[in-house]
Symmetry: C2
Subunit: 83 residues, 2 copies
Amino acid sequence: MYKVYVYVTLKEGVLDPQGTAIQESMHSLAYDEVERVRVGKYFELTIENTEDVNQRVNELCDKLLANPVIEEYRYTIEEVVPN
Amino acid sequence: MYKVYVYVTLKEGVLDPQGTAIQESMHSLAYDEVERVRVGKYFELTIENTEDVNQRVNELCDKLLANPVIEEYRYTIEEVVPN
């Protein structure tokens, strides 16, 4: 069994209005030390044993979890040993 | 300067219709090995030097980034040394 943690963020240079709005809210609450906020998506996948888990996860990210035009992704894979 | 990586997920037991919908899409694309999908939010914060960065980040998460009723969060903090 595998646990896969996927992080999807906007590519550098792509406008992040959500991030800007959150940053402004933080400033309005007097957290002026916050210089920048980037917002992204986070996925936790539980995957049964499969041979080419890396390739399959890449495909899932490209096809479903990230929009390759404006987003980039990275992921980590943990093998879970059933107790 | 600090880089803070925040991960917000739904608490166990809270329905995750988005996760279910994504899992079904994966199955419809023949990725049947995917047993579960949990969807969350991911934030990257850039924060100027501040004394109690941990406490400030906790406050930001409680006040703005996570809904404490249905969500939980964890974060990691990296100190960034300007080159």
